[in-house]
Symmetry: D3
Subunit: 275 residues, 6 copies
């Protein structure tokens, strides 16, 4: 169960409203790197958590923090929109150079929300939950969370660099710091879960059942038979159980051989006859 106080986790101040930057901020709300996604991801990981209870609590706690980040960013969008042009004529009057602000806006900020945020990305594509990870495997989920916070911090840094509004820079310096912490947090959980000793994920599958011949070999698919070398092609593996090798990939199966189409399956007669 959840509670709110209607206050912002950190102050949100916009010194000079910029409706174009409002569009950019949408990516941090509804984009694949954004806050709706992490809030829902940590929430669904918590709701389905099986095993030690501490991870459920930890996940739910941070999910709850992220809800407040959606709130901060939605507020920032609304404040950035407060001087947006509502009409083509207003735009031209204010800006004799021709629609620069209006053109760069998300039109749905004008048309669908009345100058407020949308649950969508910077291109106006609505958030969809297909990229919410909650696999039931705690280690896989932790890597998904590091990914979310790494791509989230990359995004926040780009937004920070994009604007020169002091208020927005201040808000983003807080969100960037939280992304730093959250990267650390999920990596700390990985360490607690055994780190590289708990690989490969899932570690509950007996590795002797996998085809071990292919478990630690970098396969080359370069047409000239070369191999892109690196830490991944020689030396000890990260899980410490083997040495990396590399070899050129060869097709071990022949050409697929499917049965001809069945008579009532909607194929062409020719396919059926000559199949």
């Amino acid at each position: 169960m959840f509670y709110t106080d209607g206050k912002l986790q950190y102050p949100v101040r916009v010194d000079k409203p910029n409706a174009v930057f409002a569009r950019a901020l949408q990516q941090a709300i509804g984009g694949v790197e954004g806050e709706i996604r992490v809030a829902m991801q940590y929430m669904f990981q918590a709701f389905g958590a099986r095993g030690p209870a501490k991870y459920r609590d930890m996940l739910l706690n941070t999910a709850t923090e992220e809800l407040g980040h959606i709130e901060m960013l939605a507020t920032a969008v609304a404040l950035n929109l407060e001087t947006a042009p509502l009409s083509l004529q207003e735009e031209v009057a204010a800006d004799p150079m021709g629609g620069a602000v209006l053109n760069g806006m998300d039109f749905r900020h004008l048309l669908s929300t009345g100058l407020a945020a949308l649950p969508a990305d910077a291109n106006g594509v609505p958030f969809n939950a297909s990229h919410v990870y909650a696999s039931g495997n705690i280690a896989a989920d932790m890597y998904a969370n590091v990914t979310a916070e790494a791509s989230g911090r990359v995004l926040a840094v780009r937004l920070y660099n994009m604007t020169d509004d002091p208020g927005m820079k201040d808000m983003l310096s807080f969100l960037i710091a939280r992304d730093t912490m959250h990267q650390q947090q999920w990596l700390a959980a990985i360490e607690e879960l055994g780190g590289s000793a708990a690989l490969p994920i899932p570690d509950s599958f007996p590795q002797e059942k996998e085809n071990g011949e292919f478990s630690y070999v970098y396969l080359g698919h370069m047409a000239d038979g070369s191999i892109p070398e690196g830490r991944w092609s020689s030396g000890s593996t990260i899980d410490g159980r083997a040495e990396f090798t590399s070899e050129v990939s060869k097709p071990l199966g022949g050409k697929p051989d499917l049965a001809p189409p069945r008579p009532d399956s909607g194929a062409q007669s020719d396919q059926i006859a000559k199949g």
Copy 2:
């Protein structure tokens, strides 16, 4: 540029076709954990790779391998469908217990493809590229790739456990091994890129610009003021630059204060008058 030989990277054999398992296999083709996603993810990371060329080659090489995994799985789906019932009556004749096979199938395997694979997941939801990560930050991308291979191996293990078809188990034991290697491979790249020394991601942003007060503190949002403790709440941080601390989160911003709606913005009169 790409080439093919039309052969399978590894043999695909179905001993007893099972149209219901064909549906399950779709998740490994078009699901968020599936092969279309990784092929496209590694490809777009390679296509946009800036910086040392070796990563481009390495990514492109493995992307090319993954294309062959789509091919293997699509072949497996087609083979599993070869005895599928094409009609309600055929089904009932073969199975006096009432439609068990038909009911468990993806109907589009009958209706849309004529007994072949779809670029969709186990629920028939078409693949969408919103969850393809290619951020332009090599470290963020490597974590995204570990995530993909971790969730991919979890999925492959579940499919392995779901079936008792020896051919399918053999194919999956190969794919599971490749997922093992690919987890290792991306972790090896992370190590090569500096590992925890290259944190936080992106490491090109001067950390003094972030609000350092919040960079290494686990914030508690539990209503009773408790803190879910763990490796993330005390001890040295993973990047080695600080000690984790924890504290109860307090709202530092007040209630948001938006301007009232503007007269021509489509709000209700009451909102405008009393705003």
Copy 3:
């Protein structure tokens, strides 16, 4: 900013786990009638609220309640999945009648989440935020909210009728009651906002600017010139400003007349020449 206590708003008990019912419950989580949608809808309405502050508070407060409903339902899904078959063979062993449980399941409950809920509907279609209404017009939003709670209660009633599990019926009797209240709540807000006196929505647009000839007439598009009569075709209008009339619709515009394709616009030569 938000807080949680990790407890359930109302007890969630499953007396006899049913993995098929788990699929049905997904509609109440991620469907268009579901709880993610209302939580996000009320949240974004609150975040963008301009005008009297009381509506922001009221919306945010109920959004926060709805987050707890997602939690309850996700818990119900996880509990219903606890005895689900993990394999085709397990299924057949337990159920000699042929895969009845497995066939009726959402396969992603097995493959993607490890027996836990997804942010998706009963067909496994991921939640998408395209149907989150937050228009910036408080009256339009209140009607959207009544719709959400009406369709939500219809869904909850259908789920109640679908199951005979006492624990699930108890949980649903609570959610149905909350939907009752929330219908009342949004209708109460409509009354407070002036009810039919505040029509048409938005009431801030001067009605003399609309083409008044068409504002209160039910137009007939039946090919035989008949008019489907009802409360909407005669008598006083709901806003009390006019009488309903009805008439057969006639095309007032001619056939559209577009310019021919421009030479470099990618049309066929014939279109350009004969346009």
Copy 4:
């Protein structure tokens, strides 16, 4: 069955083509507030109508009108695009101030349609039918329809305010009037269906089965125990069956207690062992 005469329901005239306004108009075609959505919504409500036949007729009749509105708006888009720049150079030649028109356009108007409308919204997001309501409950559907016409009229008003093209203002003054009527129409149907006496929706579920303790109480989720007061927290309920009360929400269920992961479910060993 349907018929057409290929003529426009109301004249569509564009005095000064504006390719940027063409983008804005797309919201009224393919947006969540747009005409494809209402046409399909009323159509599917009609096609599935069970109960008194008059509602089917009434719905189908208005669905048919809405098809003509799609036609009007698509014509308006095509006319607004007739002077659009087809190239970057053409743009710069015509507009020394740098791409103002091209930048504000939907590029698919140039690239995908050859200067004509798309079934998409103002951001180019294709229409999707996930937000078409046809619940099988006539009262729920009527509220959904009021919502559609309220958000539709808000949108049309915003478009009206956005343009100063007399032709476009004339067309929109007609569409705004029709939205006025359609709001009235669905509210009239609600009145005919019993109005507040037919609450809660669905009214066919015996209210004694719901948990009556929670049916008319506004629950507070504010962290400080305050309650946002209003018409919804005291006084007679809208259905006249009770008095509104309010109280602070308390968690009635404890922390969820899920079983540990099963051995073959793809979790980490640690989760299984310590669960």
Copy 5:
């Protein structure tokens, strides 16, 4: 502008309702091969038609017919659902073999529509307009329409073969016939537009501007240098302007060479330094 008479273009009769077949029929309503798609496709092609007016009329006329096909199929779905089980217990009582009907159903037919059709496909994926073709090039559109009617007829044949309900077979024999005609119709239009003489599409682009060396050569990408031979690799081309040739594809461009990441672009330091 459109009209209706509320009657069915062809009788829709279901002799023995089958809720599982109702799911299958959804593909013909909301699938990529379905009727919503063709109705919208022909409509948007008509609405944007530039050039000779006859094509606009012809397209609009058939679009209008297709609307009636949605109506027929939606009616068929509703009739097939009339004996569907509303509950798990009802199902088991009627069907001692365990949920065969319920498992094979689209649960949203129970939960979202109250036993009526959805604007979605056989997997419950909502129709989306991303696959509506209206390119502004009449020849490209005609091929898109042949495709739609070819895949539509394949689907209708599969549905015909799937059922043994005489009423459904009768309805489908009509729809199959219409698909036959519509294939002919669009091919007739292609013939009228010049057939192969109007190739390549678009024929308004001067072919000397294309890189003619690659216009009629089948390029081989087989790793072993073989060429899949056929009508496409030798003999006169279909447009009669050349002879088909074939050759092994060679990379004419080198490896891509992108600039290193810019300092403030959110990349890792290593990428920037070593780029």
Copy 6:
């Protein structure tokens, strides 16, 4: 199985980077007319090919070519972005006329990829596989492929006309040529498959089972009883089996008659009582 050499099929040169044109190019990568779509379409057609093996080879071969086209276009996008403004201030400094470049960009090129391509269209809508055709009927698929290459060439021509960059024009002149060839190639396959003699598609369904009365008649749905005449309304049919006729469409079925709602189906009481 697939191979790569990391080189470009054809040189990609950008003489004057243009970040706005980078957005336009996205349509050719991730749009419905784009290269991801054809690569996946030909691939899935090949993977599911039943019948003569030559078509599988031919499809797979060209699918492999198309992968290289994605690579070329993604490279073109990255090169076009190399001088893009990373900030609002940088933009204004470089361009005193106000944000012309930034406004016309896809913001995700800045925020999500660090100046590289996305698997999305020109509006930033992610590629989705719902419009990948692989029907199991070779003739239907060939028409789908002609459509893809026709709409693809229309798009490439529009891009060619949009830019005056010599490098980009050169690259596009190659892609346009390949589209020419691929149109020819699929038409050649249609000819080889029997051309119009293999109609209607699928030709394996006995035509006497379709309702022959409606197989070759153009049905008029014009409200005034007129018929849009053309090659499709008289003369020999394309398959040579009949003469085209035309007639005004009449409703052969009455109004649909659905059963009233069932008591526990969530309808309103009124619907149930008066149904």
